[in-house]
Amino acid sequence: MLTILFDGIAYGMLLFVLACGLAITLGLMNFVNLAHGAFAMAGGYATVVMVNWLGIPFIFSLPLAFFVTAALGLVLERTLYRHLYGRTHLDQVLFSIGLVFMAIASMDYLMGSSQQFYKLPEALKGQFDVFGVGIGRYRLLIVVICGLLALGLQIVLAKSLFGARLRAAVDDPRVARGLGIPVNSVFAITFAVGSGLAGLGGALATEITGLDPTFPLKFMLYFLIVVTVGGTSSLTGPLLAALLLGITDVTGKYLAPQFGAFFIYAVMILILTLRPQGLFSREK
């Protein structure tokens, strides 16, 4: 039972890594980016290529996956996304769905439609017992990475100069520009980091969720749940929402597999109907 709980926590942490980039772009920059999962998929495939084809050790391929996707995010932001910041949500939705479809078809073309795997190093396989609770090594790694990430992001956003500039740029781009804040580059960097985090999440997720070209669509709603249910006022909300979602999902799959994801959708609709601003957010 506790093992299930731990698996749930690890899964929730994984969802947080995948979605925290979205929490920044959607939550702070107010851009409805449904293509966030496409960046996660790119990170996953990048890892598969690096580990299986180029023989780069798994541990080193994780930061590389981050940088590859961040670069991809930066290029797309500069060429495409930045034209859409001021547009309506409908435009953003249509645009990012289009990107998702293109990403799915391209990956299908490049890598085939089958599930992809990579070889984990021996040190990360198996599990060990702590007071009778089986803990998977790989899942422990995820929990540690995610914990560090959450802490680091929170510090950067709340305490650093960059975080302050970002918040200023989001609140009022014009005034921020007037104060000498390079709004465009702040947005570009933020977007790139957000995409990179998605890529890192995708790299970590391949082992647990599997990776195939439909990944962005399958998990689109999960990312959105984390952000909208968590609320967007801080990163604590999405973290709690991700943990809640992960634990519920894993427990549900163990205890009542016949319901599938039904329960999660229902809870999401209920929460969003009662609290449209999210569970952990102040009323705007």
């Binding site: 959607l26 409805v32 495409l80 034209h83 859409l84 547009r87 949500h89 409908l90 435009d91 939705v93 249509l94 645009f95 769905i97 289009g98 990107l99 998702v100 479809f101 293109m102 990403a103 799915i104 078809a105 391209s106 299908d108 073309y109 669509l217 709603l221 959105l224 749940i225 909208t228 016949q258 319901f259 599938g260 994801a261 039904f262 959708y265 229902a266 999401m268 609709i269 969003l272 109907t273 449209p276 601003q277």
Partner: protein, 347 residues
């Protein structure tokens, strides 16, 4: 000096001249223009002119109806939905199950399909009254996913992933038998589309339709002049759901098959793309967009069958980047006389 003042006064007269009474204004908008008549004449004449293409035409009519139902909520009430396939699929399964269990009469089946989808739309409309675009988008998507999940799990009823087999559709009203070439199917779908289009046109040009547009533009302001926004959104959402259900029912009856595909996310996205191509907010966007969409899909699938999805995404990205307004604006200028005759207000 005198000249200019006379000009001013004459232009004033010009601007005040078309000020009609509200009734006259509404009546003027409801008048049929010749391109509209031509559109439907061509659509009906295709029954005889393109007998080899009836199956494709049938698909276009159904997709057009489905897109029209989204246009009702998106173009006239400003509600973004990513899960309209829920109602399409519900209607499709309702029609399929009825036909499988003995009550196969197509018209009755359609009415029931629309009714059931409408009831579902009525209840789910209360979920989308509050919140932002984003929450609405997620709730509609969530509802569609729940429907998909239910249909998948209740395999004893729906056939699950294998689809619902053994649907036999008797002749329409006991008179018109469905044929393999799709002549009856196309005629049937087109007639249904036309009738529902007439109804939508009537509703949109009614005071109710005008109040919807007010809501879309500014909900707060609409509220202050006494428009009960919640009730109107419930009403139009219910209606749109019923339309989608009927479209789903048509698909089942004309193909004698239902599978989980009817509830797919891609179906909702397809219809949105249709509306982006055809333009929303003037009712013809659905049918016209469906024509372009199906022709494009047919052509591109023939070129690269597996990667049709890529081109669809590409079309979406380009259309949005270039700007939907700019495209319709360009079309407005290019076809200004035609568009004006279609009854679309020049921006």
């Amino acid at each position: 000096m005198r000249m200019s003042s006379r000009e001013v006064s004459s232009s004033e007269i010009k601007t005040t001249q078309p000020a009609l009474t509200p009734q006259a204004f509404l009546l003027a908008k409801t008048k049929w223009r010749w391109p509209e008549v031509a559109f439907w004449l061509v659509a009906f004449s295709l029954i005889w002119l393109m007998p080899n293409r009836h199956l494709l035409l049938n698909e276009i009519a159904i997709l057009g109806l489905f897109a029209l139902s989204i246009d009702l909520i998106l173009g006239f009430a400003g509600i973004i939905s990513l899960g309209h396939a829920a109602f399409f699929g519900l209607g499709a399964y309702a029609a399929g199950l009825m036909a499988k269990h003995g009550i196969g009469e197509p018209v009755v089946g359609l009415l029931v399909a629309g009714g059931i989808a409408g009831i579902a739309g009525f209840f789910s409309s209360f979920l989308i009254l509050r919140g932002s675009d984003l929450t609405r988008l997620m709730i509609t998507l969530g509802v569609a996913l729940i429907f998909h999940e239910i249909a998948n799990r209740m395999a004893w009823l729906t056939g699950g992933a294998d689809g619902l087999l053994g649907i036999i559709i008797p002749p329409i009203l006991g008179q018109f038998e469905f044929d393999f070439r799709g002549a009856t199917a196309y005629t049937y779908s087109l007639v249904v589309l036309f009738l529902l289009f007439l109804l939508a046109r009537r509703i949109i040009h009614s005071p109710f339709g005008l109040s919807l547009k007010a809501l879309k533009d500014n909900r707060l302001r609409a509220g202050t002049i006494g428009i009960a926004s919640a009730r109107r959104i419930v009403a139009i959402y219910t209606l749109a759901a019923a339309y989608a259900g009927i479209a789903g029912g048509l698909l089942t009856q004309t193909t004698a098959f239902v599978s989980l595909e009817v509830l797919d996310f891609a179906r909702s996205a397809d219809a949105l793309l249709v509306l982006v191509i055809g333009g929303s907010g003037y009712l013809y966007g659905g049918p016209i967009g469906a024509i372009f969409f199906k022709i494009m899909k047919d052509g591109l699938s023939a070129l690269t069958p597996a990667y049709w999805l890529f081109w669809m995404g590409f079309a979406l990205v380009v259309l949005v980047l270039v700007g939907r307004d700019r495209i319709t604006g360009f079309a407005d200028r290019l076809f200004a006389p035609v568009v004006a005759l279609f009854g679309r207000k020049a921006r």
